[in-house]
Symmetry: C3
Subunit: 343 residues, 3 copies
């Protein structure tokens, strides 16, 4: 049993440590096809090599969230195997599109630790980077999780809480090299609405719903080599349910948002996100979006739009929190991201 | 909500309109592998590059029905989102094999409209074409659906009912360039029966059955970017069931027909088809075939065979309709197609 | 019905016959991605082209067991359609890695027959070979099954029982050309334990569990073009259950064994195996391993390790058989294989 990975505990994390995560992954057309089979993914830039070329890219990249899942999955054995809760995300940026044939690996730098007052656990902040075979960083994000202590008598480390942007300033978003939406084909993309048609404060109900099955979320989560027991083993939780990977809900909500946001093509920034309530097999996921901000970019024909994406398993659209300031019980996800749209 | 697609209603279709459907799709080995994982697909020409090359093709094409599903899926948001029923198919022809790396898009021409006498809905006929990245038409078919009216007071359009072939004449079937079955390896293909061994009127029970799961039909239907709510959202129908995409039944029945028709390699014509009864998760699909006709072709070693493919969810093979002329309740599909076989 | 394959019966097998199995298969990145989506596969050599290149291979091969399943699946219509039981495996060797683009076919030589004393069935021994498009044998194994007789009055053939190695001698294992673990990156591979760290007799509990769903095992089994009815048709067995393909359990157990055996990279020999009890949907599969032997090899930095891999659906780890010498009811699989590890 000494041979198996018991995961890290709170006292194993030290600010400044860089953890090189295991199991690099080469992606192919297989991962792309599976993403499109597991989620109702229809953004044209990721579905068609021709559409991507007309937008200045060499071919259709792997969906941004698929790249995120690959990078994230590798961190699970080192970061969240003993996590009690996934507390938040910040400063997520996609820096380079991922293409078929690329090999991704991940590393995480510990940038903060804070022991909880109960002495039994603490919060760990890591900045994770996904790298390709050339050593280029393809994406990065900060994530913080609550982790159990192995030894309750271990001394509390000095508290370090990183100073994180609540929102990534638009001028720090990285636009993929060559991206050009001046000849954008709105008919092929599926909707006529351009950047100028969206107003800050506008809300959009994405209408469609998808009922989730055990087999699907497990196939998806395994594809990202995410090994957290609770997603796969129905004996791992007292009630016999398998908790659905939060990233599955993110991808489901994002792809459902095609209906109303077909032209919010590329995700370039993740400002924050909360998994408000657990998602289980049998839930029907729906999504709505609020336009939070808009910004110009330096790329031809390309605008940035900041969106709040909310996934629910019922309830009325556009309701988020109760009078007590807490998420309503049907809210699954509250995500704040930047996307690129044709002007 | 103004941003989302509410779909077209009966009065939105005008004879002569050409609808360019959204979201082109590049196919890869991923789509091929998924087709073979979702259906018991074993026709050698689609499973092996070597077998395809020995038959005069550059490599194994994407399965004909997978190409059909990709082309069809794109039409759903424009043609059948508000459809009450999918009434029929005609004049379907596969014109060019689809290979890994091809990018498909679809367009549909409205070729007929007829308001129903109740004034609440009407029948719309479209001729859909699938095109590849070079603008070549890879397949085409006519489909007619019953669509609701948005405004019950809208005037009825002039009735136009297209004149459609009940059966595609054999000389209008398009044989893929280079196809040559003179060196066909029956052992590798799986069965010894050649074109000459089948007689018109012969019936074949394909014996095997597959019990359908929710996860599988949703994965398949999403892969084709078919977004019809009823397939995915168990709150969309009053009884809480998810209606299985009719094309899923077509592919299941066709692949089950390998057992007895292993050499009916390529589908080149779709004469007609009816989804006789709904298919739901838990049904066990079986199939039987009746040989309807045979014809020679101009390609070396290649014969054409016209087949009625019937899918059922129970009942005895070879039973189709009751004394009232209606499909028996266990019949799911009645499909009439042309395939190519070695002489 | 004369057109469909009724399978072979005991009296159809004659020692010396070579059966060329149908439906060759070209594998792509799609099969690789699906393998990683259906099983928690994380061995780095199969996940990353870069890791494989650093180990002296041209790129990441298809997982060894995926290659096995493709080769095995083709034999089902000819070998096990009328089998009462899959009795054993021996002398399995992987001779050449399988890469994307390779086309596999299978053939089996009948090497033994023995009629059972009840006169109703008999045991058939076949040596199966998987070949690629160049005619190279990529793997081979012996398997024996109990098969029903068609005609109970058929005379018993002369009994021939092949002389099979209980264990493949280490010097008969074939190391892939160029394999070199001298620069092996243990951090990227996921665990620090090298060949020298494992002791004969050591046991490892792989800790994790996966609960199995119908959709998943059917998708997997179809991907290998395995057509045995009992896996797909819930009317095929009296109790309405679908029996899970034994190979699904093998792959699940092997991939679960990553946790503790991350560096047992390549499978090169299959000494024997028993499917101890049936596996059904809803079972949670766990695995444990016993180190049976170790051997040096001629390849730089590469050691061989012989492992007993046991899959269970419950019960305590390290328990295998009861006092009666029979497998405990929770034991699903007892597999004896050789793997390659960095020294």
């Amino acid at each position: 049993m000494a041979k198996t990975n018991a995961g890290r505990f709170f006292e194993d994390y030290h600010v400044g440590d860089v953890i090189k995560h295991a199991v690099p992954r080469t992606v192919s057309g297989g991962e792309r096809a599976l993403y499109h089979a597991l989620y109702p993914a229809r953004h044209a830039l990721y579905s068609s090599d021709e559409f991507a070329r007309a937008s200045g890219l060499p071919k259709a990249p792997l969906d941004d969230l698929a790249a995120f899942h690959v990078v994230f999955g590798k961190t699970v054995p080192d970061v969240s195997l003993n996590a009690v809760a996934n507390l938040g995300y910040a400063e997520g940026r996609w820096l380079k599109p991922v293409y078929e044939g690329d090999t991704l690996r991940s590393e995480s730098e510990v940038i903060g630790v804070k022991q909880n007052s109960n002495g039994k656990s603490g919060v760990v902040y890591v900045r994770t980077r996904g790298l390709n075979q050339n050593g280029d960083v393809v994406m990065e994000y900060v994530r913080w999780v609550m982790v159990r202590k192995r030894d309750l008598d271990a001394l509390a480390p000095e508290t370090v809480i990183p100073d994180l942007n609540k929102v990534i300033p638009a001028d720090q978003l990285v636009i993929p090299e060559g991206l050009d939406f001046t000849n954008y084909d709105f008919e092929l993309a599926g909707e006529p609405h351009r950047w100028g048609d969206y107003e800050v404060g506008e809300v959009i109900d994405h209408v469609d719903g998808v009922t989730i099955e055990e087999a699907e979320h497990m196939i998806a989560t395994r594809l990202w080599q995410n090994t957290a027991k609770v997603h796969f083993d129905n004996t791992a939780r007292p009630d016999g349910t398998r908790l659905i990977y939060g990233g599955h809900v993110i991808s489901m909500a994002r792809t459902l948002s095609f209906n109303g946001l077909a032209n919010a093509q590329m995700i370039v920034g993740l400002n924050g996100g909360a998994h408000a309530n657990p998602c289980l097999s049998g839930d029907t996921i729906r999504a709505w979006t609020e336009v939070l901000d808009k910004a110009e970019t330096s790329a031809p024909g390309v605008g940035a739009i900041r969106l709040r994406l909310v996934a629910t398993k019922g309830g009325a659209p556009f309701e988020l929190k109760g009078e007590d300031g807490k998420y309503l019980p049907d809210v699954l996800l509250d995500l704040d991201y930047w996307a690129l749209m044709p002007l």
